[in-house]
Amino acid sequence: MQPLLSLRKLRKEFPGCLANDAVDLDVLPGEIHALLGENGAGKSTLVKMIYGVLRPDDGEMVWNGQAVGIETPSAARSLGIGMVFQHFSLFEALTVLENISLGIPNELTGPGLSERIVEVSTSYGLPLDPQREVHSLSVGERQRIEIVRCLLQNPKLLIMDEPTSVLTPQEADKLFETLKRLSSEGVAILYISHRLEEIMDLCDKATILRLGRVVSDCDPSLESARSLAEMMMGSDLNLPEKRADNDPGPVRFKVRSLSTQPDDPFAVSLKNISFDLCDGEILGVAGLAGNGQVELMDLLSGEILCQQSDGIVMDNISVGAMRPGRRRDLGLGFVPEERLGHGAVPDMTLWENGFLSAMRSQDLMHKGFIKVAECVDFAEAVVTRFNVKTVGVDHNATSLSGGNLQKFIVGREIKQDPRVLIVLQPTWGVDAGSAAAIHQELLDLAAKGTAVLVISQDLDELFTVSDRIAVMCEGRLSEATPAAETTVEKIGLLMGGVGGADVIVERPAL
């Protein structure tokens, strides 16, 4: 069969980084083709070239047997290439119909679009109400808008960048049905994901990139998650081992009836959140993004102060009214979700970024003056102990790949021996090898008696590390249940808000 898309010796170089080198790739019509690789392996660069966002320096792209140069995304779309990005580009205050008509060529808009949206979306099992405003939709429903927007243009190739990272397991299963249906109709799908299990289930073929080069092509259904991960890493994967015995100590950190009323109409208000965190345990908080996790994190870290100072209590001290610096003095450590710009200053060196949160705990100041040598030592100790790949600690945070910077930030917090560590999305967009290393560090930290709170939407991650799991949905936190006594399915249902509005919308009543 003639490939739909063939890439020949594609090359893209950025200053100081060869992102893609001699990449060959064939995608057949109707094939679900996985693109695998660690962070920084060049997956995004490659799909951006296919979608016309970037231009290759060298090499050839062949579409249906004809050499093409794809100059812009609109050129890609007119060939029949659609892409669903990891980060959606939707206007919250507009309706589904308005958002879709803004994102497609003019000749497709106009009367009848609303009917076509309903028709396409129901026939592919992605029900959408064109009149709903986007802010009232779940993340899964928002993703459907992006997919339907592509489908309206009858694509022959659909590129999906980490589509399931924002979905509940049930939503992901529905998406897979849709993708399989599209594939049976002859639409090729180029699929990027870090979740190896779903690639083994879904994909017909996988191309593995390492350091910008294709290292292997394989049939993922014949591989194991471990063998795929090892092909990506080029070395053995050490999966974290969970302790068999977990005997949590006394309650170290208490949260009582936290509620917020945000000014921003689109922010989530927290409703009466309470939990206990014990020494030596890892409490997991599951939930889809946008259900109040960021708001909770801001309150726990002190970036936003609580209305009631006794809403958060550590070692019988009310810390709700304390700023982050004073909370750190008591032994709290935090890892925010955003690496660049929140957990680290992009244009500062690694040693300055070490100083950012460790200045007081590591005694890195003398009368307000920064002890540079000690800062460098601290940052180097973090780099060595947590195996951060970097040219040196006097390079900027931006010079590190996402996974390495995350290891540095997590390492910076762990190296300070926190009594309580609160982590939001510890392995968001981090490759399997780095993720396993971070999980192992969290488990080791808890084994030494630290109380750890992990807030994440990755259920595999939570089941890997957590002793107990609670679920956050629409600003509420459920009771925590021991991880051994629950399942991914049960937690997934809670994440979707069982019996809530989402389930009703699922029915093809449109």
Partner: protein
């Protein structure tokens, strides 16, 4: 034609840009002189070389550079933290008035404490004036660009009010001028026969202190983090409101000191116009100097030269006073244009 972001920004070009901007200003200046009907090279010599080919001229460069650099150092703290205080002219004026009021109140006192007292009171005056936009910003989230700028005009009117009233020389034939200060209230002259005064040393101390604080002190670190990544600053636990206050007060204090150095230096008395726009020109100085204390020093000297050159061009070539402003404007324009092209590239399609 499209403008595209460059993937990597050249570090060399960031530092080369001010030099490039100076060269382009010179070239554009040649054209300007030509159009105005003067010999371009001779005019350029008159403008940029003649003012400093005597020691006296070099000393004058220090006299003009002192206030510019002092103010620009203060402003650079704010600009680095994304606080856009453009009201230094007003802070200079109120600071100068406060210090002068002290000098005039103790007109008959010949104490060694008078001059240090004047400098401290001037700094406090500038801080008080800068505190207003700081308060409005931190309390009501009022835009500091507007408030600080509008307060400048109020400050200039306060000067006008006082110089026609309480500060007026009782024996001055009703001219809007104060009494001429005694020596005890004047800054010592550094080089005999010139006007270079001890304010130059205060300025040098400010440059060195700012360099150390920005590079090595927790205050400078906080300012830089707030400017580059505000969320990382709140993650680190830095109090951003406190820093808004701090950068305003630093700028106010240095502007106030710059003001009193003008009065107790070259002017010798309070006059209706204390500064020929130093507070505004210092904004250009801060940016041409890349918000770095050492860069600001050189940029301030360059800008001082443009003042001297402008005066020289008026005297020697009968050019209008506006030529100074045109040169300063061209320099800022070329620098900003260079900056755009460092960060973006033009693509013709």
């Amino acid at each position: 034609m499209k403008i595209e972001a460059r993937t990597e920004i050249s570090k060399t070009m960031i530092y080369a840009a001010p030099v490039l901007a100076v060269v382009m200003t010179m070239i554009a200046g040649l054209g300007l002189f030509e159009i105005m009907g003067h010999n371009p090279f001779e005019s350029l010599y008159t403008f940029f070389v003649a003012p400093v080919n005597t020691w006296d001229g070099v000393a004058e460069l220090g006299v003009k550079g002192t206030p510019l650099i002092l103010i620009a150092i203060g402003l650079s703290f704010g600009f680095r933290a994304n606080v856009w205080n453009i009201g230094a002219e007003g802070q200079l004026t109120i600071g100068a008035l406060a210090g002068s009021a002290l000098a005039l109140a103790f007109y008959d006192v010949e104490s060694v404490f008078l001059l240090p007292g004047m400098i401290i009171v001037a700094a406090l005056g500038g801080m008080a004036w800068a505190a207003i936009p700081a308060f409005l910003k931190t309390r009501y989230n009022a835009n500091e660009i507007l408030t600080s700028l509008m307060l400048t005009y109020i400050g200039l009117l306060v000067l006008s009010l006082l110089i026609h009233g309480p500060l007026k020389d009782p024996d001055g034939m009703n001219f809007p001028e104060s009494r001429i200060f005694h020596d005890a209230a004047m800054l010592p002259i550094l080089i005999e026969e010139t006007r270079l005064h001890a304010g130059f040393l205060i300025m040098l101390a400010a440059v060195v202190s700012a360099w150390v604080i920005l590079g090595r002190h927790i205050i400078g670190f906080q300012i830089r983090v707030i400017g580059m990544a505000p969320r990382a600053a709140s993650y680190a636990g830095f109090d951003q409101k406190k820093m808004v206050w701090l950068v305003f007060l630093v700028a106010g204090a240095l502007s106030g000191i710059a003001g009193i150095c003008e009065i107790a230096g070259p002017l010798g008395q309070v006059v209706p116009v204390i500064s020929p726009g130093y507070g505004f020109t210092a904004i250009i100085v801060a940016f041409v100097g890349r918000l770095h204390p050492v860069g600001i020093f050189f940029a301030g000297m360059l800008m001082a030269l443009s003042y001297l050159g402008g005066e020289n061009a008026q005297i020697e070539l009968n050019m209008p006073n506006a030529v100074t402003g045109v040169f300063q404007g061209m320099l800022l324009f070329f620098l900003l244009a260079c900056d755009v092209l460092i960060k973006y590239r033009l693509r013709f399609s």
